[in-house]
Symmetry: D2
Amino acid sequence: MSSQLGQLFRISTFGESHGGGVGVVIDGCPPLIPLNESDIQKELDRRRPGQSEVTTPRNEADTCEILSGTFEGQTLGSPIAILVRNKDHRPEAYSEMAEKYRPSHADYTYDAKYGTRNWQGGGRSSARETIGRVAAAAIAKKVLKHLAPDLETLAWVKSIQEINADVNPLTITSKDIESNIVRTGDPQVVDTMITRIKDIRSQGNSIGGTIECVVRGCPTGIGEPVFDRLEADLAKAMLSLPATKGFEIGSGFSGTLLTGAEHNDHFYMEGAKVRTRTNHSGGVQGGISNGEPILFRIAFKPTATIMSSQPTISKDHQETELKGRGRHDACVLPRAVPMVEAMTNLTLCDHLLRHRALTGQ
Amino acid sequence: MSSQLGQLFRISTFGESHGGGVGVVIDGCPPLIPLNESDIQKELDRRRPGQSEVTTPRNEADTCEILSGTFEGQTLGSPIAILVRNKDHRPEAYSEMAEKYRPSHADYTYDAKYGTRNWQGGGRSSARETIGRVAAAAIAKKVLKHLAPDLETLAWVKSIQEINADVNPLTITSKDIESNIVRTGDPQVVDTMITRIKDIRSQGNSIGGTIECVVRGCPTGIGEPVFDRLEADLAKAMLSLPATKGFEIGSGFSGTLLTGAEHNDHFYMEGAKVRTRTNHSGGVQGGISNGEPILFRIAFKPTATIMSSQPTISKDHQETELKGRGRHDACVLPRAVPMVEAMTNLTLCDHLLRHRALTGQ
Amino acid sequence: MSSQLGQLFRISTFGESHGGGVGVVIDGCPPLIPLNESDIQKELDRRRPGQSEVTTPRNEADTCEILSGTFEGQTLGSPIAILVRNKDHRPEAYSEMAEKYRPSHADYTYDAKYGTRNWQGGGRSSARETIGRVAAAAIAKKVLKHLAPDLETLAWVKSIQEINADVNPLTITSKDIESNIVRTGDPQVVDTMITRIKDIRSQGNSIGGTIECVVRGCPTGIGEPVFDRLEADLAKAMLSLPATKGFEIGSGFSGTLLTGAEHNDHFYMEGAKVRTRTNHSGGVQGGISNGEPILFRIAFKPTATIMSSQPTISKDHQETELKGRGRHDACVLPRAVPMVEAMTNLTLCDHLLRHRALTGQ
Amino acid sequence: MSSQLGQLFRISTFGESHGGGVGVVIDGCPPLIPLNESDIQKELDRRRPGQSEVTTPRNEADTCEILSGTFEGQTLGSPIAILVRNKDHRPEAYSEMAEKYRPSHADYTYDAKYGTRNWQGGGRSSARETIGRVAAAAIAKKVLKHLAPDLETLAWVKSIQEINADVNPLTITSKDIESNIVRTGDPQVVDTMITRIKDIRSQGNSIGGTIECVVRGCPTGIGEPVFDRLEADLAKAMLSLPATKGFEIGSGFSGTLLTGAEHNDHFYMEGAKVRTRTNHSGGVQGGISNGEPILFRIAFKPTATIMSSQPTISKDHQETELKGRGRHDACVLPRAVPMVEAMTNLTLCDHLLRHRALTGQ
């Protein structure tokens, strides 16, 4: 059951990068939520390759079909199945992958675990697997619009290598982020980032960075104590994305340098609303949202596929070399932005429904 | 269902810091595992307050009782219930807490979520809640000994504020860690860390830091693709601990500065064993263990309870001040070391059983 | 995870008949529900042995203690742990059970499954295991009172062997049932049933029968399509009780003799309320409650423990004989009545919370 | 989450009778199991309408497509998605159903629960929903062949109304059952049953009956104590099928007439094998298989759709009449036989994997 997420808004993704298709079944979506394929297609288009000069030139059509769970433009309350057909079959382009393990990919560990592997395009470890997540999250977003109309989730590229964006999480807009192909929120670093990505790609190399995400307008009281703390479920959701190596919320790792007197967030009243003077907590205290913006960052390693030759081993455990081929992102960050938003919305939607079950609100 | 963890080795913790007691029920523990109360007590003693001059002087006896699930020194395969009675009832010492929200604690969010709260000693958000986890993990450790005899989990204090320990994760031993009361692995920084904690405590202030954890000898193939990646479940487990703000595995956040050519871990053969030259992956690729040491770090914020007066609000939303009282850790790190090991062993035990279900091994 | 039930109101029972104690942890109970130990004790007293001349003379005190999850007489929303200590330790009385398998008990299958077994008093297969269920259900009943004030669950002994009670499920009251020690709803058969049980007991033999249960006032729309149909979850809940061999709802097995024209329940309006003329459906259509009384019956086999000598095998697979000893119910039905009500209320409470999560109502 | 079943072999079905299609995603299927579409198609063909003169003349092609989870004729260990397209769109044939509630169908309860309903062909309550189950069970059957090669599941029509088949569960074969279009196991009653079904159909009426199912060769030790007893999970699985009203195992309801001395199954040795002289237990003791044949029966009510006019109410709660239209089974039993086998195999496959996780066997 590795491909299921959520307790009440439960998604089950399926599909290898090659084969019939990829998709998702969502069980537990409330009825009477307006939903059309265009709601989903819009989000899929943000994650697909080939959308700009800094992403892979592979052109995946990624056209979604809703197979079930809606009727006359609304959800029925029954499982919603979404299918995106695979189109770009070119197994021959990857045939070397059947014999050799790509460094820092999942080839070796899949074989070690299962004794088999769909080596075409990476199988289940392909970034294409995230299509099901993004599709499900498009629906989660519609449910959130219904349950918490003021809630807004926004992610942006915070850094690429050492190039750091200066962004105000309280004021940044979706338009700011989508205005540039790197999806960063700081106009000052856009060109530097684009240049860096192009340079690295021309070298056949790759780079990583960090993405920052804010949830504004989340109701107070969302999340759970103990194991299913909101930050714990967000951490899991983020670390489940390909290429992620770290997660921090609020003050994060740099907060370990402060003293308690510096770090504590003091409560005060802003009219009738409870606020805190600082937000080192990142909007979550004891696992539960406190009404302040939820703010966290995720580390993405440099893409594992590079175009230079690397030492590795073959399936029969002989040492050999392998050179990357095909079309890949030199930097996954711009396309990872909608994935981060997707995982955030899936997590929040599930927790809002859990809160409603427990408290009736 | 916020207090359950694990798919096959499922634990259900219970208990507030004040009331009848705290504990855990473990469902899914294999039969015929040798188990006595002393196995559990040993781990509880490592987490309890009052064990050294750098931890809180509160003396919690924390004596555990196995209520069910064992017979003649072995597990039965039925649920194992463990109870630790609460003893140190002093509600009057905390009565101000009934009326005022402590900054950066869960007081406000609990009231916001539930409309009620056991304000005595923090209720379910108390560090005392971790007793159930540590008790369950003591059993997980016994199961791991059976399923994967070579597996060893060790955690240590990696940093306190900017004081950083230099530790070799491949060679550090349990004895190294337990040889000093800070539970760091670097003898060079022990005194500096102790002095820092004492100084901060004498100021009525608090500090945080990071803990590093290694799993050596984990079999290859453990973990799952997609949502339940090993690193995702570890991230969730760690972020579910009180006071945590971040998690990173392998190269983590600093890995975002490298290029792919620098970051990729090249495979080679060490005799019959598949190895990687570097371990930026942190022992996990595509969510599945690759046989290299699993290595990760967790950020702990400074303890929220400090002895100086801080601005806050009351339950009826009036601005007021609150001064910390009672006996608390100025630095939670030394006592958090066994908690990190506990959450790691719980996560691994569950994944090893999942692997056995899927593959028969 | 054999000892957990419920998706949102999730209970985890624990405990063997001999050992520290038996009990339950409930995770997912809404906050602010009034709850005291006496609410639970009342239900436990209805299931305990020794309460009348037709039940086993064993006198189990079964005093419950709430260990967590309540504060000042209300639920907190955190896990509620309940413990009932074991008191009647007399392992010597049963020592033969360590070596020989009792016919139609779980002795052999437990050993076959686990390779071990707490042979004292039946271990986990003891009827004593139901204490945790009844305790949890006492809380479910309080939650139901809050969520669906008109809902009332009543069970009664419908038959003992061929002695059949004539009961009107629409009008029977709790007082009717508790007015006689057999807990049947028909005063005409009380004496016959009591005489039969006493006769059988005096012969060292045992008998079974059926229990009927009605849920009146259940809101319309409770339950789910497909796998978690209300009748499916009720069937599972009932068949999980010791000694049960069958379940039927509405027209049940006898409905298979009718034609569709006879069996269909025609809708009509009773004022503003949708009703059906007949109730062959048993209050559930397509897995979802339709507002009519939910009505079902459960078959209980004769108690396996009898006082005559029976052929069996020993643990080392030698043929031998075994004679029942100790104090047992010659007829489990009267004490099973509160267990049936308990399992019904647990099932309904979970489904009402699921309905609230999905629809907000 | 009403459309998920299983803890380790978890299936998620989707699809309304009208719309893009119906299907299932299976998460948790072990790798390296041989699997082709023909394995699934074979089982789908047994459940489809139009296969004989006693089933509905509707001709559903039900051609399945495996979208993911297999590679070169074997399972990968990743989710297996199966899709069967809907073809027979004729919404106009059913348009009256948009306004009126069919008696003893789920029309009213779906509207009451969700506030909406796909009224075309019954939506999710259509028998077409079982396609996903049968497809998933075809895979479960392949896994069972691998885990327990001697295990064989066979179901047959035991009775139609009062016409009862005399069948020996120990010797009946698949060939016996498939040799006649009613799928009963007793050649003596085949013609009577066929005649009865034809007569009833010609009257525009419908009938029900019982199905009996045996599992031969199930390993000892399968199942769990307490809530997930094998018989409890079988009861749930069976009662989740459309039109079911009862379940009994072993002696069932008639066992309530016996005394314990008559009912107890005495152990004896048959060579090295533990056996019982009788099998009133139905192959399960304390929730766990004892190696004897598992034997149970399920009651199916007469099909709700009949061709005569019946009183009912409309969506706006006006009393009205409704006459059945379209092509329906006058007796669902022959087509329910493969569904019963499917639910049995799904339940067993899940429990065998659970047993493997717990005990390594």
